[in-house]
Every structure is written in structure tokens, then in C-alpha cells.
């Protein structure tokens, strides 16, 4: 197990290298002049015709492909991802600023994914072919078919526009002042909800929570729907297994058969999928955060991708690849922890 983990971790730099190379290749399709546009948002800048060339030199935009890549790699080693023209700050700083917000969102989204997805999946499997099962299943498929950007805007419309419950952003203006000015509010974890509790500010905690609900639902509903399906079929599959028959032959109560004998086995494949979904949600934040103006990585990623801010895209992708690899590793390890067949290998 340990050597497996080490092996995977050794693979990490390779994957990161590959990711950066891939993105660099993509950007090399553009001419220096086109890449320059990232740094120019106003034609006034071109007042002096030479400034274009000077800017190109300044940002190393006309370096030949391998040299540019190596130049960039070197700075990466120093955690210097360059300048983000969309965030108007160094890429690394931009990442650090936005990452906790996204992580907080994803963290809370895990709760409904696990609870609703798995719980309803089991219920659906147990009531196989009942009306309840059909309703859950059809709802899941419909949910799955709803594009996030439509769904998110609808949530925003109904729950904020009409009911006023789920405001966009991460904090209300008053809470922002309370959290970020004066220095009384200590940032322990950079998760606002946790910090609020640690600082004993229930009002801020609540404010953060109501801002999170809409994005959480939007971000995770597809995962619920999908996980529900997976859980259901895995559960159905497990319930047909020989050892379930053995358990019944022993006289084990049906409830125990389902929740003790079947569920644990059924959840083994689900864990992998759930893990992938949770990691995948990091990618799904793009639209959710855009719709809810939630100040995280996704919002920024969307902007930087559209505006070809390649420093940011590379930074984002490297971070994401890192999380992907480590996340997958965690998923695999937890998979092994659940399944004794793998654990005791």
C-alpha cells in the first residue's frame, strides 16, 4: 500500500509537467501579438506604436516555443507562476486568494452529495421498481439533464430574486467589513464558516451559510443525480450476490441485510465514483461560481480562459492536476481502507 502511494506521488511531477506542456502547446498556437492582447484592454495603450513590441518583450511573448517553456518552467520551480492579467495580481497570489473559497464550497457540497446521493440511492434500490424508486429515478435523470447554467440562474431567480434567501457572493457587505477590517476577526482556516465559529460570530457564520446554499445546490445536483444512480445499481447488484443469500439463510433481519451486509459492499465501487465526483466538482465550479458571483477559482478560471490569460490558466491547471492526482490517491486509499481484500493485500 505504502509503496503504491509513493509510486503515485512520484508520478505527480510527471503529470504536472505534462499538463503544463499541454497548455503551453495550446497557447503556442497563438502569435505573440495575439497573446499580447491579454495584457491590453484599451487601445489607448497603443498610443505609441512601439509599445506593442516593448510589451511583447516584457512578457516574453515572442520567445521561441522550447525556450519560452523552459523559461516558464524555471520560474514555476520558484512558485512564480507569473502575472495574471485577468486577476491583476500574481497568479500564485490569485490562487491562494480564491482557493479557500472554492474549497469551502466544494467541502459543503460533499454533504448533500453523500447524504442525498447515497441515501436516496439505497432507498431506491431497496424499493426496486416501486413507485418511489421510479420517482427517484426519473427525477434523477431529469435533474441530470438540466444544464447547470439554466438551473443555477433559476435557483438564483427563485431563491434570491423572489424569496430573498440565497444572496450571491460569499458574504454580505456588512459581514465583509466585519471579517476583513479592524483585525478583530482571525483567519484560522480561511473557511469563513469555520473561522466565524472559531471567532464566535454566529451572525457571520449564518451569513456565510446562506450565501453558500445556492452554489452548493447548483454545484452538486448533477452529482447527486449521478451518484444516486450508481448507488442504486451497485446496491441492486449487491443484493443479488450469494453472500446476501447466505445472510438471509442465517435468518438475518432484512434491515440488517441491507444496511450491514449489502450496503458496505455496495458502497465500495460508489466510493470511487463519489470521490471522482467530488474531485470533479472542482471543475464544475466554473459555471456555478460565475452564476452566483462566488469569488473562487471557477469564476476566475472562466474569465482567464476566455481572455487567454495563459499564466492563470496554467496556474489553475497545475493546481487542479495536483488536486486531481492527490485526490485520486486519497480516493484509492480510502477505497482500500473499506475493502479488506485490497487493504490486506
Amino acid at each position: 500500500m505504502l509503496s503504491y502511494i509513493i509510486r503515485r506521488l512520484l508520478m505527480l511531477p510527471l503529470i504536472l509537467l505534462g499538463v503544463t506542456f499541454l497548455i503551453f502547446c495550446l497557447f503556442s498556437l497563438l502569435s505573440p501579438m495575439e497573446r499580447l492582447a491579454t495584457y491590453i484592454n484599451n487601445p489607448n495603450v497603443l498610443k505609441n506604436p512601439q509599445s506593442a513590441q516593448r510589451l511583447i518583450e516584457k512578457y516574453h511573448l515572442d520567445d521561441p516555443f522550447p525556450a519560452g517553456y523552459i523559461h516558464w518552467l524555471k520560474s514555476l520551480m520558484k512558485l512564480d507562476f507569473g502575472w495574471s492579467s485577468t486577476a491583476n495580481q500574481p497568479v500564485w497570489e490569485a490562487i491562494m486568494q480564491r482557493f479557500p473559497a472554492t474549497m469551502e464550497l466544494v467541502f459543503y457540497s460533499i454533504i448533500p452529495v453523500i447524504l442525498v446521493g447515497i441515501w436516496l440511492g439505497v432507498i431506491s434500490a431497496v424499493h426496486h421498481n416501486d413507485l418511489l424508486d421510479q420517482v427517484i429515478r426519473v427525477t434523477a435523470i431529469i435533474g441530470w439533464s438540466l444544464p447547470t447554467f439554466i438551473f443555477g440562474l433559476l435557483i438564483l431567480f427563485i431563491f434570491y430574486g423572489i424569496l430573498g434567501w440565497m444572496p450571491p457572493g460569499r458574504l454580505s457587505a456588512w459581514a465583509q467589513f466585519a471579517v476583513y477590517t479592524g483585525g478583530n476577526f482571525k483567519h484560522y482556516t480561511h473557511f469563513i464558516t469555520f473561522d466565524a465559529l472559531l471567532n464566535g460570530r454566529l451572525d457571520i457564520f449564518w451569513d456565510a451559510i446562506i450565501h453558500l446554499i445556492g452554489p452548493i445546490i447548483t454545484l452538486s445536483y448533477i452529482s447527486w443525480a449521478y451518484l444516486l444512480r450508481i448507488t442504486r445499481s451497485s446496491m441492486l447488484d449487491t443484493l443479488r450476490k450469494d453472500y446476501i443469500r447466505t445472510a438471509r439463510a442465517k435468518g438475518v433481519e432484512e434491515k440488517k441485510v441491507i444496511y450491514l451486509h449489502a450496503q458496505k459492499n455496495a458502497l465500495i465501487p460508489v466510493v470511487t465514483v463519489a470521490g471522482m465526483m467530488i474531485i470533479g466538482m472542482l471543475g464544475g465550479v466554473v459555471i456555478t461560481e460565475t452564476v452566483f458571483t462566488y469569488p473562487g477559482m471557477g469564476y476566475w478560471a472562466a474569465t482567464s480562459a476566455q481572455q487567454l490569460d495563459y499564466g492563470s490558466v496554467i496556474g489553475f491547471a497545475v493546481l487542479f492536476a495536483f488536486i486531481m492526482v492527490v485526490g485520486n490517491l486519497i480516493v484509492d486509499v480510502s477505497y482500500a481502507l473499506i475493502d479488506p481484500r485490497v487493504r490486506l493485500e
Partner: protein, 311 residues
């Protein structure tokens, strides 16, 4: 095959899916009759007015536009926007009808090509194993490490706007799932004895892959592909929504939704003022995706019980 069709027809949900699909196919085929084009390029959405603000269903074609079309020698048969106009005076009805063709094109082309790439790389990796497998799978990992939407967005922006560019981007970053699925199922099918039997007969590697492995492993991929047709259309729409999809004015559902983006909520007290702007394109997309999902979902159940629980 007959068994599959019979089962698809006997299942209520898949029947609904198939009917919906049929509905869209009919629309796509008869688009020139349902919504006769007024521009030379039929995919250019007919403009009913120069107004930016959406206009409600039944809005008649503005005089200045009628003059334009008539002086271009076109016969204006339909002079009312059946579903209203989108931002910019585009006829929603026209955009949706011709957008159906676009949806099929985007969905099917992207899925077919990404499936091809995925199947080829996945089967080579699985069959030959060793370092080839390792290399191909690491490449897959690398492609998977960038969130699909972000990657597609970057590539589309680099290549420039246009549906073909969108498709290239979707294909370039959409093949990895197939590669993984086919690899997994070939790895298990490889253990089957008929593969050993074929090798015992002296069958060459590529013939084994083509004739023995693929026919037996392709179904899970096909199921996945059928469900992905819908999600590819949604992703293309999401790209349009984020402003990097089809060129402005091109008949594409995603664009119709993105037209509605700023008009989802009407004025206070009349929240549903522009309901038609998002409702019609939204319902088209949802139903289209739903139809593929329903069919794919049933197909999955029918074709391969082993697939349960797998991605």
C-alpha cells in the same frame, strides 16, 4: 438487436426518450419547411427586428426588416415570431428549429470522433499493456487533469469562434472517458478464453482487437456515447453561454440560452416578462438531453448488467 429494440420499446421511460428523439429528428429533417430560411445561409437566424430587447411570442416582423427581406427578393411567409424574439431581434422559433440540426451535428460528430480516438488509444493501451499502456494512460491523466469545461474554453478561444472550433475542442478533451472505459473492458475481456482461442489459431494482434475484442467491448462505450451526445450539446451550450461558442446569430440552442442570459428575470412585479426567452431554448435543450439520457439509461440496463456501478 431485435431484442434490444423490443426492450427499448417496451420500457416506458425509454419509449418516451425514443419518441422525443423522433420528434427532434423530424424537426431536423423538415427544418426548411417548418421554418423557411430568409438568409442565404439557413443557419443564420432570421431577424424580426433590430431591437435588442426580447419581444414576446407573436411579435410581428418589423417593417424595416420586411423591407430588407423583400428587397432581397425573399418571400416572407411567416411574419410573426411564434416563440418571440431573443435579444437582438432573433426569431427564437427559427433559431430552435435550425438549432436542432446544429445540436445533432455537434452531438454526433463530437461523440463519434472522441469515441474513435478513445477507442483506438484505449484498446491499444489495454491490449499491448506494459509501457504503451502506462504512457497512454498517463497522457489520458494529463488530459483529464484540466477541467473539461475550462480546457474546451481555452481551446475554443484560441482557435476562434465557430461551431467547428467548438467541436474540435470538445473532441480534443472529450475522448479520455471512452479510452478508460474501453481499456477497462478490454482488460477484462482479454482474459476471456475465446481471445486465447484466437491466439491459439494464430490470429494476428490487430485482427484480435478488431474482430474479437472490440465487438465484445464496444457496447458499454456505445451506451456512454449515447448519453454523452446530450451532454456534449449541453457543454457546447455552456461554451456559448460563457461567450466562446457558436458565432453570434448562428442557429444554436446554447446561443439562444445565452441570449436569454440577461433576461431571465423580468422587471419587478412582472418577473416572467421575458419567460419565452429562456423557456423555449431551455426546454429544447433539456428535452434533447433527456431523450438521450433516457434511451442511454435503458440501453445500459439492457445491454450490460455488468456495467452497473461503473462509470
Amino acid at each position: 438487436m431485435n431484442r434490444i429494440i423490443k426492450k427499448l420499446l417496451s420500457n416506458t421511460t425509454s419509449l418516451i426518450g425514443l419518441l422525443l428523439l423522433l420528434f427532434f429528428v423530424v424537426i431536423a429533417i423538415f427544418a426548411p419547411y417548418i421554418a423557411p430560411p430568409l438568409f442565404d445561409d439557413p443557419y443564420q437566424i432570421v431577424r424580426m427586428t433590430w431591437d435588442i430587447e426580447p419581444r414576446p411570442p407573436g411579435f410581428p416582423m418589423a417593417d424595416e426588416m420586411r423591407v430588407v427581406f423583400e428587397s432581397l427578393g425573399k418571400q416572407v411567409d411567416r411574419d410573426k415570431a411564434l416563440f418571440g424574439t431573443a435579444q437582438g431581434g432573433y426569431d427564437i422559433f427559427y433559431g430552435l428549429i435550425w438549432g436542432t440540426r446544429t445540436a445533432f451535428r455537434v452531438g454526433i460528430i463530437t461523440v463519434v470522433f472522441s469515441m474513435l480516438i478513445g477507442v483506438i488509444s484505449g484498446s491499444i493501451a489495454a491490449y499491448f499493456g506494459g509501457w504503451i499502456d502506462e504512457l497512454l494512460m498517463r497522457i489520458t491523466d494529463i488530459f483529464l487533469s484540466i477541467p473539461f469545461l475550462v480546457a474546451a474554453m481555452v481551446l475554443t478561444t484560441i482557435l476562434g469562434r465557430g461551431l467547428d472550433k467548438v467541436m474540435v475542442a470538445l473532441i480534443a478533451f472529450g475522448w479520455m472517458g471512452y479510452a478508460r472505459v474501453i481499456r477497462g473492458s478490454i482488460l477484462s475481456t482479454k482474459q476471456e478464453i475465446y481471445i486465447m482461442a484466437a491466439r491459439a489459431l494464430g490470429v494476428k494482434d490487430f485482427r484480435i482487437i478488431l474482430l474479437h475484442l472490440l465487438p465484445n467491448t464496444i457496447f458499454p462505450v456505445l451506451v456512454q456515447a449515447s448519453m454523452n451526445i446530450g451532454s456534449m450539446v449541453v457543454t457546447a451550450a455552456a461554451l456559448s453561454f460563457l461567450g466562446v461558442g457558436a458565432p453570434l446569430g448562428y442557429a444554436d440552442w446554447g446561443q439562444m440560452v445565452s441570449f436569454a442570459r440577461n433576461w431571465i428575470i423580468g422587471s419587478p412585479g412582472n418577473a416572467g416578462k421575458y419567460w419565452y426567452a429562456v423557456f423555449f431554448p431551455g426546454i429544447f435543450i433539456v428535452l434533447f438531453v433527456l431523450s438521450w439520457n433516457l434511451v442511454g439509461d435503458t440501453l445500459r440496463d439492457i445491454l450490460d448488467p455488468r456495467l452497473r456501478g461503473e462509470l
